[in-house]
Amino acid sequence: MGLESLPHFKAYTDMKNTFIKNEHLLTGLSDFDLNTLRTRAELHRRYSNIDIKIISCSPEKLVLSIRQGKPFNGNVFDTKRLVEIGKEFVQGVGVPNTVHVGAQPYNPPPPEAVTPEWIRKKMHEHGLKVKDVSHALGVDSHTISAYKNGLKPLSGVVRAMFYYYFNKNR
């Protein structure tokens, strides 16, 4: 007898085909409704970096949490909209009428404020030249200049370097 014929194995492999965390808590849904929810979860994840997690589900009440990570396209939703998205997520499928949604909006880390304009402004505020920043950070002056002028993309680590250099150590 192969593993595939065991009910638990089938349930486990089915659960892997989902981006809904704790999907197993959703009981009594038809295959159609479950697929509808899986498709919705996949789209929210793909286009807005939104993850959906089932917290609890009883015949009377469904509790879910919805969390947005850093969206690729920059479209950040506030708490109110995320709660609405959570309620829309289960609309029209066979879940309890009472739905509670806990929302965690995206909270950008402070170094995300660092842009070429931000670097130029900070250098001006502190009266620093490229060679000063280059020396302090141990980074070639051509590279600093390229970051400052937007000719080289700022990675997360580079943003953090500039952010902490200007905000914490001066």
Partner: protein, 108 residues
Amino acid sequence: MTSLEKRLFEIAAQNPKGFTVTIPDCQPVRSGWCIGHKETQNSFGPKGLKKVVEHAMRTTGVVGGWKGYDGRFYFDTVIIEADAGKALDLKHEHRQQAIYHLDTGKIM
């Protein structure tokens, strides 16, 4: 693999949950209804990306991608439509289960 395909693979690796960009400039798409194109469904890996890039170049100029349950990177040509009514027509034409509004997170 062309430099554009390499760039798109890099973007996919850095954004495994998903991305949607215009090509060839690889800028994020921020607005409109997203409809997956029926001709690029189930395209994955380098071969799939090549097919999608060629297709998108001829059609909408928009490529999307994400890492699937199976760990593979999937790609498709994305149609962007501002009008909800037209987007709904395109949803049916392209046999999509659902379409997504980037501005609001609404699904139809």
